[in-house]
Symmetry: C2
Subunit: 333 residues, 2 copies
């Protein structure tokens, strides 16, 4: 069943059918009605391969989500979709796995779907540095700053990771903690590096001792990673009273590791997370954590992208505010 069949069955030519299906104004009401009748009768849908093969002009905003399980991304995607629809634009969403290259995907999408712009949820700065040059449409990298890259069609919207991490450690220190461990991503991650820098700044500012070899344990962002890293930290830093985990999911693993050593949270060890995922509020103890401001992130990302598209505005790199969710996993000494 192709557009040709519809043309034959409706008594019109393919051109007219195409015009009807694409909402062109140059069609008589009669033609529109007859064609639509045939289309609906056969549940006909255009073939996107052919459509996009032919169509060079871009339409819609592509959203490339790297990491389907990232609990922070789901609400972001949902909100962005709404904002894009509100502007009468289509959104094309592509979920890719953590280990796929988001720029391969983006380049393919550009070749095949000609989007007007791209929102990247998550992504690796090294990938961007290596391959983003091939992309010509305006883009926004969301949750990671791309300021250091200097591409003139790549904006970014992110939490100020360094400031937020510094704030987190400030908080622990202000509550009387001084033997504080840090569980982070591997230092090849730009995000982890920024948060790590914030931690160090806080320790230094307050004159609190921090020996990276002992007090910092890198791990994968995941419960298992948090669990193992916390175990190591407890081994090498017996007197610790608080730990800052660079993601809520790691914090969950860390809390269990603490329990498995016969210690309690927060009585024996306080745990501060990072992200503010929904799950945190259902845990016992509820997670005390840094909250990334999802609404602002989604909002600003879409806003910036559209401004770059419609007004050819230059790329900008924004930081959105962060907050503190006071749960039950941190106590004052």
């Amino acid at each position: 069943m192709t557009i040709k069949d519809i043309a034959r069955l409706s008594g019109y030519a393919v051109g007219t059918v195409s015009r009807v299906l694409n909402g062109s104004p140059n069609v008589s009401d009669e033609a529109r009605a007859k064609v639509m009748a045939v289309v609906e009768e056969h549940h006909f849908v255009l073939n996107n391969n052919a459509k996009h093969l032919k169509q060079q002009a871009g339409s819609g905003i592509a959203i490339i989500v790297k990491g389907t399980q990232n609990l922070l991304f789901a609400p972001l995607v949902e909100q962005m979709q709404g904002l894009i629809r509100k502007r009468d634009l289509a959104s094309l969403i592509y979920y890719i796995d953590e280990d796929e290259n988001e720029l391969d995907q983006a380049l393919q999408v550009c070749r095949e779907r000609h989007p007007q712009g791209i929102l990247f949820l998550g992504g690796d700065l090294d990938d961007f540095r290596a391959r983003f040059g091939g992309i010509k449409v305006p883009c926004v990298l969301v949750t990671t700053s791309a300021a250091s890259l200097g591409f003139d069609n790549l904006s970014s919207v992110s939490t100020d990771d360094a400031a937020a991490a510094e704030f987190a450690v400030d908080r622990l220190i202000s509550m009387g903690h001084s033997r504080i461990g840090v569980l982070g991503g591997r230092t090849d991650s730009h995000t982890a590096a920024a948060r790590y820098g914030g931690c160090r700044a806080s320790f230094k500012k307050h004159g609190v001792e921090f020996d990276p070899a002992v007090q910092y344990v890198p791990a994968r962002f995941g419960m298992a990673g948090g669990y193992r890293a916390m175990g190591a930290l407890l081994d090498q830093m017996p007197g610790l009273t608080a730990v800052f985990a660079m993601s809520d999911v790691m914090a969950v693993g860390a809390i269990r590791a603490i329990h498995d050593r016969g210690l309690r949270v927060p009585e024996d060890v306080s745990v501060m997370g990072f992200d503010g995922i929904e799950m945190g509020r259902y845990l016992t103890p509820q997670l005390t954590t840094i909250r990334q401001h999802r609404e602002s992130i989604a909002d600003r990302s879409v806003e910036i992208l559209l401004r770059c598209i419609e007004e050819k505005a230059p790329a900008v790199h924004e930081m959105t505010p962060f907050g503190l969710i006071t749960g039950e996993s941190v106590r004052a000494l």
Copy 2:
């Protein structure tokens, strides 16, 4: 950059380039080397629109995942991908949101990508009943039984929801509980209905009282749903000692609701979950839950689909074994 450019730059014709890129054997090593050199230099990738538009013959297995956040699906997808690759087939993964129609997606994929078969992770039986007739390739519905539908190209692989739920309640009863509440999906969900039936069978078998109006609270499958439903259950069933939540994620919400009433798990109320997601083992208390056998589900799904494709085998509906993960959230009275 198209195949024509590569042809020009490599000194060969488009046909040869196409043959190289598709791994055809009828190419000299020299041609292959020269063409690949140009291809890699320019990071050239074929345009899938054109490729699939032309290519009617199907290649690859499509995996349609409904619900990106379903913690059960992530490991299933990963394992299935591995199994499919091991058979030298390509896999095309499509993630769609919970509220999209998986059959619209499937029909589109069939028209545009011509897969040899489709694996559906999650899906609504009503959607299938209404629209699956349009699909002609072999398919497997995973985690939900499609036996009742009777399509001859739709197999299914699932946990025996009724038996597993019955087992769960059996277990609670055998540990001395008799005032047991149930938190489930809304009864329009086939899965929830099956699990609900299993619960009732267990209560009946053991002669334990069960008044659905009081002891059963339907809710959405999610932490918030579990939290609210548990609150309601505690209100209307003051003396309860145990609750069976029809998903682990609901159980997490339920446990927090119990805590918020000043009760403890499992000292005051025991909680049994369902699914066996990774998170359960990191919670405190660790979740006691029914484990769906992910490995078997992935394995059998791929196996059955390939048998249907390669040997034109008839559709089958298999149940995979389930188990019990003994955590800390259920205690003996």
